[in-house]
């Protein structure tokens, strides 16, 4: 289906908020929806630039998020600090392998996958690649839906520090790594929200806004 009609060529815009299809014969790049008053665009403004900015910020913060401790556990005057990865290893060694897999997926696999796949989508889209566009769109839809699950560790830390505070006997304190980690998750979510998947399919024209040719007739 590489020759199906596209809204941009038919001079139509759909409102991303309410789904209304609007006539954009004047080819404005920006207008307001007549039903819900939302700003509507043919493409999200500065999509790739914004998406890159959030992604780069997330990638940088991913380093302290993994190196700094997220939790300090004190048991009988012994304090242990744990990072995201060491927390998973501890769970595994304690025999809670099922839990270890859940936490490993949410806290390690999903963030790495999101950073890696967003980089891949941004580069391939910038190069106007026509390689597996359908699958790349699907990848984007997956990224969109799994991102927020990485907040799991943030909630776990908040609950554990509240529950385990028995002075010197047993005490759990939060480490600053968890703040960096939460920021990584928020930034990757912002990165994927700002990416416009329709750009994956905008491969045909070399410049996005060229004046209409003379030999093209209007319907």
């Amino acid at each position: 289906m590489n020759n199906s009609s596209r809204a941009r060529d038919l001079k139509l815009i759909s409102c991303h908020a309410c789904g209304l299809v609007l006539d954009n014969r004047e080819e404005l790049n920006h207008a307001r929806c007549t039903r819900c008053d939302e700003h509507v665009y043919t493409r999200k403004p500065n999509s790739l630039t914004r998406s890159w900015a959030y992604l780069i910020a997330a990638t940088i913060l991913y380093i302290p998020a993994n190196l700094l401790p997220i939790m300090l556990t004190t048991k009988m005057y012994n304090t242990l600090s744990s990072t995201i990865v060491s927390g998973v290893i501890d769970l595994w060694q304690d025999g809670a392998w099922d839990l270890a897999i859940i936490v490993f997926t949410a806290s390690v696999v999903v963030p790495i996958l999101k950073l890696g796949l967003m980089t891949f989508l941004l580069i391939s889209t910038q190069r106007r690649s026509t390689w597996r566009q359908r699958e790349r769109t699907k990848l984007y839809r997956i990224i969109e839906h799994i991102g927020h699950w990485s907040m799991l560790d943030v909630f776990v830390v908040a609950l554990l520090i509240t529950l385990v505070h028995f002075n010197k006997l047993a005490l759990v304190q939060a480490g600053s790594g968890i703040v960096a980690f939460a920021a990584v998750v928020v930034l990757t979510m912002l990165s994927s929200m700002n990416f416009d998947p329709r750009l994956i399919w905008d491969t045909d024209e070399p410049k996005p806004r060229t004046p209409p040719d003379n030999d093209k007739t209007n319907g």
Partner: protein, 206 residues
């Protein structure tokens, strides 16, 4: 200026910009984009009665989930129990207070506002009227959806309970079951397509 087209007749894929003309679907059917495989729309009829029932159930469950403790922990004769708000306030006072702000928004305020806005929109719609701030309420619902994370908080509570069973006596409390139920209710409620609600409300325009 844009002129309005017959919105019922066309649909544009949000993911690849392909244009289709709408065809009526049977119950539980979904229309997918031929080009990229994304979902275009579902069977057009959104049952406002069902949505309102889910909203009211969510509101009741929300109160239960927040009033009762989630977990109780016993260790050498000492015990601690925590509701969601205990957790938020304790975390706010800790060295990572900023986490509490995020957790409060995503596990308490956004879900609460979502439930209230659904009630605000659906009760008048059911009576055949459009609420005064319909447009604003619908935009707020859409913007909040990705940041509302009751289900993640729920899984976090379960993980915490299991983590603690290794070192102490842990007892899940009513709040945990409340959050489990709320997770399911909100998941069903947010699976309805807001676009359909926009379309239905249009019939009420005078």
């Amino acid at each position: 200026m844009q002129s309005r087209l017959n919105s019922a007749s066309l649909v544009i894929c949000e993911y690849c910009d392909a244009v289709y003309s709408r065809t009526p679907l049977k119950r539980r059917e979904k229309a997918h984009c031929l080009q990229c495989g994304s979902e275009l729309y579902r069977n057009a009829h959104v049952d406002i009665d069902v949505m309102l029932a889910l909203t009211l159930a969510s509101a009741i469950t929300f109160v239960i989930a927040n009033c009762y403790p989630i977990v109780e922990l016993n260790m050498s004769g000492l015990s601690n129990r925590a509701t969601l708000w205990d957790t938020l306030l304790f975390t706010l006072d800790s060295n990572v207070g900023v986490i509490a702000v995020f957790a409060a928004a995503s596990a308490f305020f956004f879900p609460l506002i979502q439930i209230l806005l659904f009630a605000y929109v659906l009760i008048p719609l059911r009576a055949g009227r459009k609420p005064r701030a319909f447009i604003g309420a619908m935009h707020a619902l859409r913007e909040m959806q990705p940041w509302s994370m009751v289900e993640v908080f729920m899984l976090g509570a379960v993980v915490s309970v299991i983590k603690l069973t290794a070192v102490a006596a842990v007892a899940p409390q009513i709040g945990l079951w409340g959050f489990a139920t709320l997770t399911i209710l909100l998941a069903v409620l947010s699976s309805f397509d807001l676009h359909e609600l926009w379309d239905q409300s249009e019939a009420l325009d005078v």
